[in-house]
């Protein structure tokens, strides 16, 4: 499957995406605007609580082309963060208030500077999270990475949208589930998932369809039971993440006739407690070209940091960024629905 970008699909245009989630139909147009909803609870303009997490998107290239991918990542994407930009990130994140460096993509492992960068961040004594699709670690070129990441104390957060093969493969492609189990066993073998090793292995659930995630804690127990009984696989935490209506997932919603209902569901499920804890308040997202965004979703919609804040990592200014107003739009309802959603799972 080609990316929407490679297909020159109209939904690869962020402007088209934003128009759809605001104006797709009379029903969608009638939904409360997110900014107004936040204003009702005193959270507009939305301000950061302080940047603690650097979420660096090191490139859109991926060995997979998942149906729901908000990045529209795939083997045909060529956008890769350069060494120069990674060096600029290192300068910016080298301060005590930044506790965590979260590497995402695409498949972050495919960035040619991945090993070097992880090594450099590890010297700064920061928590390093790598968001892995698992299957990339089942290739000869990357088979050394489980041991490498263990040596550097990297926390691995990986996609497994359900504990069943049927649903996982439906979203991520035939054979993904079996490869994922194989790699999870390899990761367990080097100590990942074992509470005593300190090597954290977290799984990410996201709905395979137009519905919201289940309760995180009860689903975690179910995953633990099923993965242990069926595969003897262990892990630490499970994060439930809501699909935001952008990019390929938006394409699915449109093509399946679910967009109106899904947008309505997100809006009617607005949870003020979740709104308080949205991840954009303590995270900055850095794009492959060094551009700055409030989150990875805004990055894909090309909604850069605004209201006078720096827009590129080379112009890093923590004080200015901590004072910025976070850019909001209708997709933000995805992070405030139900128990809320972030890269660390439910927030409420």
């Amino acid at each position: 499957m080609k990316s929407l970008f490679a297909q020159r699909h109209n939904l690869s245009d962020p402007g088209v995406q934003l128009d759809l989630i605001n104006n797709h139909s009379e029903k969608v147009r009638s939904l409360d605007k997110f900014e107004a909803k936040m204003d009702e609870i005193g959270l507009f303009p939305l301000k950061p609580t302080g940047i603690e997490i650097f979420q660096i998107n090191v490139g859109y290239m991926c060995n997979m082309t998942c149906k729901h991918c908000h990045v529209d990542a795939g083997p045909d994407r060529q956008e890769i963060m350069s060494r120069e930009t990674l060096e600029q990130c290192l300068v910016a994140l080298d301060r005590p208030s930044v506790t965590t460096v979260d590497l995402t993509g695409g498949a972050p492992e495919m960035n040619p500077h991945f090993r070097w960068f992880v090594g450099e961040v590890a010297k700064l004594d920061k928590q390093i999270i790598v968001r892995s699709n698992l299957t990339i670690l089942d290739t000869r070129r990357f088979e050394d990475l489980p041991a490498f990441m263990a040596d550097h104390g990297v926390e691995i957060t990986c996609s497994l949208p359900f504990y069943s093969k049927r649903r996982t493969d439906a979203q991520r492609g035939e054979g993904t589930y079996d490869k994922s189990m194989k790699v999870l066993k390899i990761l367990n073998g080097v100590g990942y998932g074992n509470e005593e090793s300190g090597l954290r292995l977290n799984l990410v659930y996201n709905p395979v369809g137009a519905f919201l995630p289940p309760d995180q804690e009860s689903l975690k127990q179910e995953y633990k039971k099923r993965l242990w009984e069926d595969h003897q696989v262990i892990f630490n935490d499970l994060y439930t993440i809501t699909n935001l209506p952008i990019s390929r997932y938006l394409n699915f919603l449109v093509m399946s006739g679910n967009l109106d209902e899904y947008m309505e569901k997100l809006v009617t499920s607005f949870n003020p407690s979740a709104a308080m804890g949205v991840m954009c308040r303590n995270t900055i997202s850095i794009g492959w070209d060094g551009s700055l965004y409030d989150c990875d979703f805004n990055q894909m919609l090309k909604l850069k940091t605004a209201h006078g804040a720096p827009k590129h990592i080379r112009d890093w200014n923590l004080d200015s960024l901590n004072q910025r107003e976070i850019v909001l739009n209708q997709h933000c309802y995805g992070c405030t629905a139900g128990a809320g959603s972030s890269c660390g799972g439910a927030v409420a």
Binding site: S164, D215, S218
Partner: protein, 111 residues
């Protein structure tokens, strides 16, 4: 009369039944909410029971609603279909067990 008896959008108007008789509607919806809350059975378990019952009473609104609910409670496709089979088995069994009554009557009427 409309050309179809069931319209998916009507489910969202369920609460409107209170327009004609508020007191009883309020009592029903309060009761409904209490039934589906966590108690001796979890809300998750109750959603799967509701899915099975929805099929037994063949309510299209309920099937839509509790299919979505079951997915959002984390049930797999296999679990949901097994619940439907439970409803089917009880419905089928309810017919078949009456075969004993038929046999009794045959015995009584036959030489």
């Amino acid at each position: 009369m409309d050309k179809t008896y069931y319209n998916p959008d009507d489910l969202k108007k369920f609460g409107n039944v209170g327009d004609f008789q508020k007191e009883l509607a309020d009592k029903f919806f309060d009761y409904y909410g209490a039934v589906f809350s966590d108690s001796a059975l979890t809300a998750k378990e109750k959603s799967l029971i509701a899915l099975a019952v929805a099929h037994a009473v063949q309510c299209p609104y309920c099937i839509d609603a509790y299919t979505q609910e079951s997915l959002e409670k984390g049930f797999s496709e296999e679990q949901m279909m097994e619940a439907v089979h439970v409803a089917t088995a009880i419905r089928g069994g309810a017919s078949l067990v009456h075969g004993v009554q038929m046999m009794n009557k045959v015995d009584k009427l036959s030489m």
